[in-house]
Amino acid sequence: MTYSFQFRDVFAAWEFLLDGLMLTLLLSAVTMVAGLGIGAAGAAAKVYGGPWVRRIVAGYVEAIRNTPLIVQLFLVFFGLPGIGIKFDAETAAMLTLSVNLGAYSTEILRAGLEAIPKSQLEAGRSLGLSGWQVFRYVVFFPALKVIYPALASQLVLLMLATSVVSQISAEDLFHAASIIQSRTFRDFEVYAVVAVAYLALALIFRALFALLHHLLFARR
Amino acid sequence: MSLVDLSNVVKRFGALTVLDEASLNVEQGEIVAIIGRSGSGKSTLLRCINGLEAIQAGRIVVDGTVVNEPGTDLRALRQRVGIVFQSFNLFPHLSVERNITLAPRVVKHVPNAQARELARVALRKVGLEDKIDAWPDQLSGGQQQRVAIARSLAMSPHLMLFDEITSALDPELVGEVLKVLEEMAREGMTMMLVTHEMGFARRVAHRVVFMHHGKVWEQGPAAQTLAKPNTPELETFLSAVLH
C-alpha cells in the first residue's frame, strides 16, 4: 500500500503547536527554578542538617527517584482531589515536576558540595571568612563546575519529561499533537513533527547551557 | 641484513616533529641502549618499530617485514617483537598465568596445558615461578615488571623492546629487573632499550644510541661513547645525568 505524507494539515494547525510550545517552555522554566530551589535546600539539609532532617530529605529523594513521574502526576492530579485537595492540570503539572526535579537535583547538588575537599573549607575558615562567605567564595563556583554537566543533562531530561503532563490534559506541546491528530488523522506526521520540535528544543537547551558554561567558567 | 632497519623515519604529532629523519640499524644478537633527554623521541622510535605509532615518512623494516606499509600484517610482526612498557600494563583482571598465556592461547592456539608450561618456563627466566597463580595487584612493581617481561618472552620473540622499564619503579626494585635483562643478554636476545640507567647501559649494551631533537645524534660502542662523547650535546647530556 502506498501512503502519501501530508504535513500540510499538521502545519495548518500551527497555532495549537505554538500554544503547546509556550506551555512546555513555561513548565520547563518554572520547574527549573522551583526544582533547583528545592534541590538547593535539600542538598544543604542533607550535608549540613541534623540526623532527622537528613533522614527526612533522604526519604523524599528515594520516594521520588524510585517511582515513575507519571504515577506521581496521577497521584497529584487524580488522587489528591479524593482527599479534598484540587488543582487544575497546569498547577498539578508544575507542582509534580518541581517536586520531582527537586529530588534529582538534591542528589546532584549534594554531590557537588561533597566534592569540595574539607581542606578548602578549613583554608577559608582560617582566613577569617564566615560560614556563608566560605560557601559564597570558596565552595559555590568549584562545586557548580563539578556538577554542571550532570545538572545540564538533568534539565534537558526534565524538559523532555514535561511531555508526560499531556496525559492529565495539560495543554503542552505533546497535547497539541493529540488534538491535531484527532482532527487530521495524520498520526505519523504529527508525532514526527512534534518529535522534531522536542529535538530542536533539546538542542537549543544544550546550546544555552553550553553558552552559560562558557560565561560562568571560561576564566576560572 | 639487519634485524631492524630504520631509514629517515619522520614522525609528527600534529605540528610537533618527534622523529626527524631518524636512521638506525640493529643486528641480530645486538643489545642497543637508546639514551637522550625526555622529548628527544627515543620512546617514539621504539614504538614505531612494532607499529604502535604510524610514521609520516621514511621506511622501517623489522625481521624482514616492512612495518610502515598499508596491508602489513602487524599482528604477525608483533608476535615476533616483544615490548615491555614503563607502566607494566599487565591485565589486572587476569592472573599471572593468564596474563602470560593469553596471547599464546588466542593468537598461536597453544593448548591450555602446554600454555601453562610455557608460562612456567617464562616465569622461571624472570625468577617468579612461584607467582604463577598470583594476581597482578598482589605483586610489587618490580615483580609486575618481571611478569610483563615473561609475558613477552612466552611469545618467543626475535627482538625485545624495553621502554624505560625501570623508570616507574622504586629505586630498590630496579636491580631485580635489570638482573633479568642481563640474563636475557647472556642468552643472546636482540634487545633495544630506552633507559636512564647509564651504568647498566655501559655494562650490558653493545652500542649506545644518543637521540637529540628527533635524530640519532651520535652512536657507538657503549663504553667508548659514554666515556668520550664526540658531540657537545651528548657531553652536556651525560654531565647532566651523571651529575
Binding site: M1, P68, F74, L160, L199, A202, L203 | -
Partner: protein, 216 residues
C-alpha cells in the same frame, strides 16, 4: 459500575507487575543489543562511524520517549501495519534504552586505559581479541553499577506504555481507579509497588559502586 476497593484489586495490581517486569526485560534485551552496537560505533576508529553513533544518541536522547511510543503505536498504522501495544512498546523501548545503555557502556569502554589496548596489540592480538579478552572483561566490571542504575530508570519508564493501552502496573492502576473511584489509594499503592521494585535495585547499584571504589 462502581464498586469498593478490595484486596482483590490490590492482588490484581501486584499481578500486573509481571507485565511491567516483562516489558523491562524486553526493553533491556532489545536496548542491550542496540546499546552494544552504539557503544562500539561511538568508540570506533573511523570518524564517520563515531558520528553515526553520536547522531543516534543525540537524536534519541533529545526526544521524549512518549513520542517514540506514539510514532510506533499510532504512526505505523498509516502504512497499513497494525501494531500491537507489545510490538510498539518493544520497539520504542529498545530504541530508547539502546541510546542510554550505549552511552553508559561507551563510557566504561573508554575508562579502560589506552595502554591496555596497546599491551594487547603488542602481543599480536587482533582488535576483536583485544576487545574480547582485555577490554570488555574490565569494562563489564565497572559497567554493572550504572547499568543496574539505568534498569531502575527503565522500570519507571515502562509506566509510559500505559498511554498506548499496554496493560502493566500503571495502566492497571488507571483501570482500577475507573471502577473503584479511589484514585488516591490506588495510585499510592501503585507508587509503593514501583518503589518495592526499584528501591532494592537502587541500593544494590549503590553498593556495587561503593565496592568498586574500594577495590581501586
Amino acid at each position: 459500575m462502581i464498586r469498593d476497593l478490595s484486596y482483590i484489586d490490590v492482588l490484581y495490581l501486584i499481578a500486573a507487575m509481571r507485565w511491567t517486569l516483562a516489558l523491562t526485560v524486553i526493553a533491556f534485551l532489545g536496548g542491550g543489543i542496540v546499546g552494544i552496537v552504539i557503544a562500539l560505533l561511538r568508540t570506533a576508529n573511523w570518524p564517520p562511524l563515531r558520528w553515526l553513533g553520536a547522531l543516534y544518541v543525540h537524536g534519541v536522547q533529545g526526544t521524549p520517549l512518549l513520542a517514540w511510543l506514539f510514532v510506533f503505536f499510532f504512526g505505523l498504522s498509516i502504512f497499513g501495519i497494525t501494531v500491537s501495544p507489545w510490538i510498539a512498546a518493544a520497539a520504542a523501548y529498545s530504541i530508547y534504552a539502546g541510546a542510554f545503555l550505549g552511552e553508559i557502556w561507551r563510557g566504561c569502554l573508554q575508562a579502560i586505559a589506552k595502554t591496555q589496548w596497546e599491551a594487547g596489540a603488542s602481543l599480536g592480538l587482533s582488535t576483536a581479541q583485544q576487545l574480547r579478552y582485555v577490554i570488555v572483561p574490565q569494562a563489564v566490571r565497572i559497567a554493572i553499577p550504572p547499568t543496574v542504575g539505568f534498569l531502575v530508570q527503565l522500570i519507571k519508564n515502562t509506566s509510559l506504555a500505559a498511554v498506548i493501552g499496554f496493560v502493566e502496573l500503571t495502566r492497571e492502576g488507571q483501570l482500577t481507579t475507573a471502577t473503584t473511584f479511589r484514585p488516591f489509594t490506588v495510585y499510592l499503592i501503585v507508587a509503593a509497588l514501583y518503589f518495592a521494585l526499584c528501591f532494592p535495585l537502587t541500593r544494590w547499584s549503590r553498593r556495587l559502586e561503593g565496592r568498586l571504589h574500594v577495590a581501586r
